[in-house]
Symmetry: C2
DNA sequence: CGCTTAATGGCAGATGGTGCCAATAAATGT
DNA sequence: ACATTTATTGGCACCATCTGCCATTAAGCG
């Protein structure tokens, strides 16, 4: 057991660092999304993506188990950032107010191009079944993270029914808001677009609480 | 335009009725789900399903565009039934109360075997990514139907933000409740299991409203 | 420079899924 | 009964997705 500091008399070529691998995936992801947006998912072959990214088809399939999961790195980048913001949501603040404070840095962390790409993917998910499926799966992962945060805030078990319900509901709200912003930003992203997202979330949350 | 009673001097073999086609799909669906549950989705080939259902592989692929969509007929049967119950949800009643009144007939409409199969699929979705994706897509269709109902009740446009948010939130709640019941009913379905579902939904909805 | 281990690329092969055409089934008209 | 017409079916060829296996190359270390 107690492998406190696993002994490491490493001998051969060291495995590539995790960040390196993530960066590679992200790079391929960008190429793939561009192709998806240009010619559709079905019309884009794995071979094409691999070629665009400058790797062999074989290694491409090693990096991505399915074609649609190419969108994952780009999207998770955003989702993870959002989860981080959520994570240090102080107990005494309303969520909306917290977002107003902490949301902008999130946006500065990503390039405009990446943001544009993410929104493009979200728009694509409306016509491309395969992408929609991948997108929904990803949102469930986000919902999970959200559940952790909520459980901690409420001092309840992660699998308490209230926690899971609230996480699911908030996640659903976020989905609606995000979809709205993505379609609104169909042509060009401006800073207002994104602050619009923040406000859209606020509106949506209000709509939820008015529900009873 | 005005094709009031479309003239029909039909000449050749008439297309099979829609119900016929649905029944055929449902039949194949049952075989497929059994195989999925027994040996996993990945290990079940289209050829195998076709053979089990007694059709050629070619026609199988005509009935189902993807392997995972085999679960669709069984699930939609339930979802549609639920939507129907929702549809005549009288304005003056709380949802929970309405369900208490109208939920049982829903269950009587289906055979125990089908209910068992549906729950089995829901359980399967936790380990089988492909099924999870299909399941989520289907839930989105249900969310859409829910949106229609809510819009009508509230006298708002279908695409009003409040309507969409509420539909998404309720749908999410339903998802949690359903998941709970499916895992709870892992071994054998009893009538209590299903009344449990109704109460689980009630609990979940309360949890949601407590959220603010 | 040799030794060791990780990543890559190439190739064969199973499975998913589609287009095309021939065969058959179910109706109607003569 | 038989020809005609149209819908469904099944068979076949074919491309794309994805995996297992092995040779090759890359990256560290003494």
């Amino acid at each position: 057991m107690t492998d406190v500091a696993t002994e490491k008399p490493r001998r051969g070529r060291p495995p590539v660092s995790d960040e390196q691998r993530q960066r590679q995936r992200l790079d391929i992801s960008r190429h793939a999304v561009r192709l998806f947006a240009d010619q559709g998912v079905a019309a884009t072959s794995g071979e094409q993506i691999a070629q665009a990214a400058g790797v062999s088809e074989r290694t491409f399939w090693r990096y991505f188990p399915h074609k649609e999961s190419c969108v994952e790195p780009l999207l998770t980048k955003m989702v993870d950032a959002f989860c981080e913001v959520l994570h240090d949501w102080p107990r005494e603040l309303e969520l909306v107010d917290h977002l107003r404070e902490a949301y902008s840095p999130l946006l500065d962390a990503a390039t405009d191009e990446d943001i544009e790409a993410v929104l493009a993917v979200v728009r694509l998910t409306h016509g491309e079944r395969a992408l929609r499926a991948a997108y929904l799966m990803l949102r469930e992962r986000a919902e999970d993270a959200l559940g952790e945060v909520l459980a901690q805030r409420a001092g309840l078990a992660r699998d308490a029914i209230e926690v899971r319900v609230q996480a699911a509901a908030m996640s659903a709200v976020l989905k609606v808001a995000t979809d709205d912003v993505a379609t609104a930003a169909a042509d060009g992203v401006t800073r207002e677009t994104l602050e619009g997202h923040r406000e859209q979330i606020a509106t949506a949350l209000r709509g939820l609480s008015r529900m009873l």
